[in-house]
Amino acid sequence: MRAVALAAAVALCASPALAQFTYRPAGELVSGSGRGRPDMTSYAPGMRFPTESAPAYANSQVWGVGGNYGPSGSQCDARNRSYPWHDNYCESRSWDMPMCPSGTGHQGQDIRAANCQDNVHWVVAAATGRITNVGSYSVYLMADDGTRYDYLHMRSVQVAAGARVVRGDRLGRVSNNFGGTATTIHLHFNINRAVSGFGTVYAPTYGALIEAYQRLLSVTDPPDGGAPRDGGSPIDVPRDVPRDNGPDVVAMVDVPRDVPRDVPRDVPLDTGADAAALMDVPRDVPRDVPRDTGSDVAVARDLGAAPVDVGNDVGSDVGGEDASTPAPTPTEDAGCGCRTLPSRGGAAGPWLLALAALGLRRRRAMRS
């Protein structure tokens, strides 16, 4: 027991950032933003988290603060850079998407970097492989196992089609590049896999991202690219940008001086590509759908029968039950080449803390 407590304490010391990380279940979208897919499967087990540094925030750029359908305000609002994470894989779009309950969906996950500085935060290779395509705002990386990772909206792209990259190599920087129109500063990340009898599909990304982010925070990513290339702490900011203070940067939202801090909602930032991307999204969707807190949505695997539409405003629910829910062991599926993550929680820190406290208490009891 003492050994467990010691290990837990060491783990806590090594990764305080992990203790802060929480996420909402897969399939639980922002209220009114669509019907989610409650699938916590990691379709890319072992992948490197796509931003070089933590913290990073998976949530909707369209339904977040300053987004076209989100609360009014700046995209730099601290609520856009806070836990828990929110899945937006099946968020409302008009595009055909057979993996989503509604038959349409967003197909990937929006990820915001530590702060809303443009063209600063590095995006890295999720796996070793080849760059198969570089468009005006996209980069495709095909891993050796045939999984394709898509990175959108970057600037300062460091790679060209045909290049070989190693897991963790820098590909570009998080930005708002959208083919001459505008979007918010974020990374759109897809996982694309071949499926027998169909073709290729954009697989749910949320489970793989949670798994990879936990590794990034706990400094357990293997050194062959899993950790930053300089071997330093994963929450370090790249060397050529001003250092910030890790997780605390959530409250320190800096904007370059030449960018207005509060962008009006009718300027191109929110009316250009965002509007175009959503031009077919119904605008009359209810914004205040009652929140379903009773069921564990991630347990429902029959997607057609149990679509999820759960009310949950971005940034309004921090920690809470997520942090206090035990994390079951992931289960492997060899045929799928994927791994199913626990349906809830994800913050290992509190559990390690509880273990450490239990160990200390027993030790004191033995002494007394």
Binding site: G103, V134, D144, G162, G179, T181, V195, G197, R301, C336
Partner: protein, 179 residues
């Protein structure tokens, strides 16, 4: 009725013709079904139009590649190949075309039945968009294919990305080019 005098030499010539050469087995992984006989387009010529480094990639590929008939597109294609997959990136001044073939297929998620809502190249297909990139996917002879068209400037307005016509025409024009 007597046959015309010209017919007899023709028949004799036909009898002397060599039998057709046996076809060599396709160089594909076990999961890939043998391709159908060559299309009218000269696929070999398309291969030869590739840049040398792209030709080397294709030659190292374990699966054939689908390339557009348009020779101008083939001439600028960047081909990449890996274990069980092959890809071509075609960068143009105002759009980028990406073609991926992938034989590393996974079973669908348990209980999932994925259905296509459209057809391409005579087979069921899905035509969609991803962040304004016009995309399509289908399976052909045991390989999962995807075709992406990304418009460089105002993809929200460029008709090639807004509508399906350009993608459909391009998909129909794809020719199998073998290593």
């Amino acid at each position: 009725m007597r046959p015309p005098a010209l017919l007899l030499p023709l028949l004799l010539l036909a009898c002397r013709r060599d039998p057709p050469a046996p076809t060599s087995p396709p160089v594909t992984p076990p999961t890939v079904v043998a391709p159908t006989p060559a299309a009218p387009v000269d696929a070999r010529r398309l291969r030869d139009l590739l840049r040398p480094e792209s030709r080397r990639e294709l030659d190292a590929s374990t699966i054939p590649l689908l390339l557009p008939r348009d020779e101008a597109l083939v001439a600028v294609a960047v081909v990449t190949a890996g274990p069980g997959w092959v890809a071509a990136s075609i960068p143009l001044s105002d759009l980028t075309i990406a073609i991926h073939g992938n034989a590393n297929r996974h079973p669908p998620p348990p209980g999932e039945v994925l259905r296509h809502a459209s057809t391409l190249r005579g087979v069921p297909a899905t035509v969609s968009r991803n962040e304004l990139i016009r995309v399509a996917t289908w399976e052909e002879r045991g390989v999962a294919w995807s075709l992406d068209i990304e418009c460089s400037s105002r993809p929200d307005l460029d008709v090639r990305c807004v509508q399906e016509d350009y993608l459909r025409a391009l998909a129909d024009s794809l020719v199998e080019v073998r290593p």
